[in-house]
C-alpha cells in the first residue's frame, strides 16, 4: 500500500511538469529561460524504474509537451532516448544518485533536448535558414542546460528520496 502511494506521488509530480512549463516562474530563470522541468522529472524516474519505464514516460511527457507547445518541432524522440539511456545507467549501480552526477546528467539531458529542438527548427522550418544557424538556439540551449543542471541536485534528489523511502519501507 505504501509502495503504491509513493508511486502515485511520483506520478502526481509528473502532472506538475506541464504546469511548471506553462507557469515558467520568472524567479527561476537564466537570461529569461527556465529549467527543463521534463528533464528534472524524467531523470529520477528513469534511474529508479529502468529503461522501459523511462522510455515510456519520455513518450507520454513528449506527447503532453508537444500538446502545449507551438508546432514545428517535437520533444518525443529525444525524451524516449533519454528515458531509455538514464534507465540503463540506473540499472548499473546505486552511486548514480550523487548530487554532482545528477546535475551532470540533467545538464547533458537538457543539452540534448535543446539540440534536438534546434536541429528540427533549423532544418524543418524554411525561415530558419535566414539567420545562420540561429545563434539564439545556442543561447537557449546553454541557458536552459545551466539552470537545469543547477536545479537537478535539489529536485532530482528529492524525487529519488521519495522513491527510496518506498523501497526502504517495503
Amino acid at each position: 500500500m505504501v509502495r503504491f502511494q509513493r508511486r502515485q506521488a511520483f506520478i502526481f509530480c509528473a502532472f506538475l511538469v506541464p504546469f511548471m512549463t506553462l507557469a515558467a516562474p520568472s524567479w527561476l530563470t537564466l537570461s529569461g529561460i527556465g529549467p527543463s522541468w521534463v528533464v528534472l522529472w524524467l531523470l529520477p524516474w528513469s534511474l529508479e524504474y529502468g529503461p522501459f519505464s523511462g522510455a515510456l514516460a519520455g513518450l507520454y511527457l513528449g506527447l503532453v509537451l508537444d500538446g502545449i507547445s507551438l508546432d514545428g518541432a517535437t520533444h518525443i524522440p529525444v525524451l524516449i532516448a533519454l528515458g531509455f539511456w538514464w534507465g540503463c545507467i540506473g540499472r548499473r549501480g546505486p552511486l548514480i544518485d550523487r548530487s554532482l552526477i545528477l546535475g551532470l546528467l540533467a545538464l547533458i539531458g537538457s543539452v540534448l533536448v535543446g539540440l534536438s529542438l534546434w536541429v528540427q527548427i533549423v532544418f524543418f522550418q524554411e525561415s530558419a535558414l535566414l539567420n545562420a544557424f540561429y545563434m539564439w538556439g545556442l543561447r537557449n540551449m546553454l541557458a536552459q542546460a545551466i539552470i537545469t543542471g543547477l536545479a537537478a541536485p535539489v529536485v532530482c534528489s528529492w524525487l529519488l528520496l521519495l522513491a527510496r523511502r518506498r523501497r526502504s519501507s517495503l
Binding site: G32, S69, L70, I121
Partner: protein, 250 residues
C-alpha cells in the same frame, strides 16, 4: 524789498499746495508710458478669485476632445465606406476582446503566450492579438477557456506587412529573437527607399489580418541583400511585459 519777499513766500506756499496734483500728474504719466501695466496687474491681482476655474478649462478640453472624437468617427466611417466600395476587408473596434495573459514564454524555444479566454468568448484561430502599440501575434489554437498565441518573434511566424511611406510589401519572419526580420518582396525604387525608422503595418489590402495595424519600426536595413532588401524590425508592443491583450476579430 519787503514786497518781493512776500511774493516769494506766497509762491512757495502755492507750490506746496500744488505738489499733490503734480504727483498725480506724474503718476498718470507713468501709467500712460507703461501702457497701463500697473492697472492691469492690479486688476488681475484683485479679480484672481473670480477667474474661470479648472471646471471651465475642463469643459473646453472636453469639448475639443469630443470634437476630435467626432471627427475621428466620421473619418473612420468614411474610410469604411470607401473600403467597402473597393471591396476591401475592414476591421472595427467593436470586435475587440480583452484577455489576460496567463502563461508566457517569450524567450524560450517556443515564443508563445496563453490567454485566459477562448472560444466561449468568441476567440477563433487566426484572430489578431494586439498589445499596447500594435500587433504582437496571431491566435494559433483555442480551447473553450484559453487561447494560444504565436508571437511574431516565434520561429516559423510569417505575416505580410508593408511600409506605408514607400508602399512596399514585405514578409515579417520570426527567427526566435526579440527582433523579427523583414524581407521586402521587391527592390525599392530610387525615389522611395525604405529607411531605418520607417513604420511597418499590416497591409491595407490584407485578407488574413486586420488592415493597417501598426507592427514595428525598421531598425536596420541591408539594401544590398539579394534578391531584395532585408532588415531587422523592432516591434512596437513588447510581449515580455504585457499582462493584458486585445484580440481583434476579423
Amino acid at each position: 524789498m519787503g514786497g518781493s519777499n512776500r511774493s516769494v513766500i506766497y509762491g512757495w506756499r502755492s507750490l506746496r499746495r500744488l505738489w499733490p496734483w503734480l504727483l498725480v500728474a506724474f503718476s498718470l504719466c507713468i501709467v500712460r508710458w507703461s501702457k497701463g501695466a500697473v492697472f492691469l496687474d492690479t486688476y488681475a491681482f484683485l479679480t484672481r478669485p473670480f477667474w474661470p476655474g479648472t471646471a471651465q478649462r475642463d469643459w473646453i478640453k472636453n469639448g475639443t476632445q469630443l470634437e476630435q472624437e467626432s471627427r475621428l468617427r466620421l473619418l473612420e466611417a468614411d474610410n469604411q465606406r470607401l473600403r467597402a466600395m473597393l471591396s476591401l476587408k475592414s476591421s472595427s473596434k467593436a470586435g475587440l476582446i480583452s484577455a489576460a495573459v496567463i502563461s508566457r514564454s517569450p524567450n524560450g524555444w517556443w515564443q508563445q503566450i496563453v490567454l485566459g479566454k477562448g472560444s466561449t468568448a468568441g476567440i477563433a484561430q487566426g484572430d489578431a492579438v494586439l498589445g499596447p502599440g500594435g500587433l504582437i501575434g496571431i491566435i494559433q489554437s483555442v480551447t473553450p477557456i484559453t487561447a494560444r498565441v504565436r508571437l511574431l518573434t516565434a520561429p516559423g511566424s510569417r505575416i505580410g506587412v508593408w511600409n506605408p511611406r514607400t508602399k512596399r510589401h514585405g514578409i515579417l519572419l520570426g527567427i526566435g529573437t526579440n527582433r523579427p526580420v523583414i524581407r521586402f518582396l521587391d527592390k525599392d525604387s530610387k525615389d522611395s527607399k525604405s529607411l531605418s525608422g520607417d513604420l511597418l503595418s499590416t497591409s491595407p489590402a490584407s485578407t488574413i489580418l486586420p488592415p493597417n495595424l501598426p507592427v514595428g519600426l525598421i531598425q536596420t536595413l541591408d539594401e544590398q541583400a539579394i534578391p531584395a532588401p532585408e532588415g531587422i524590425v523592432q516591434l512596437i508592443a513588447a510581449p515580455e511585459a504585457i499582462d493584458w491583450v486585445q484580440i481583434q476579430k476579423f
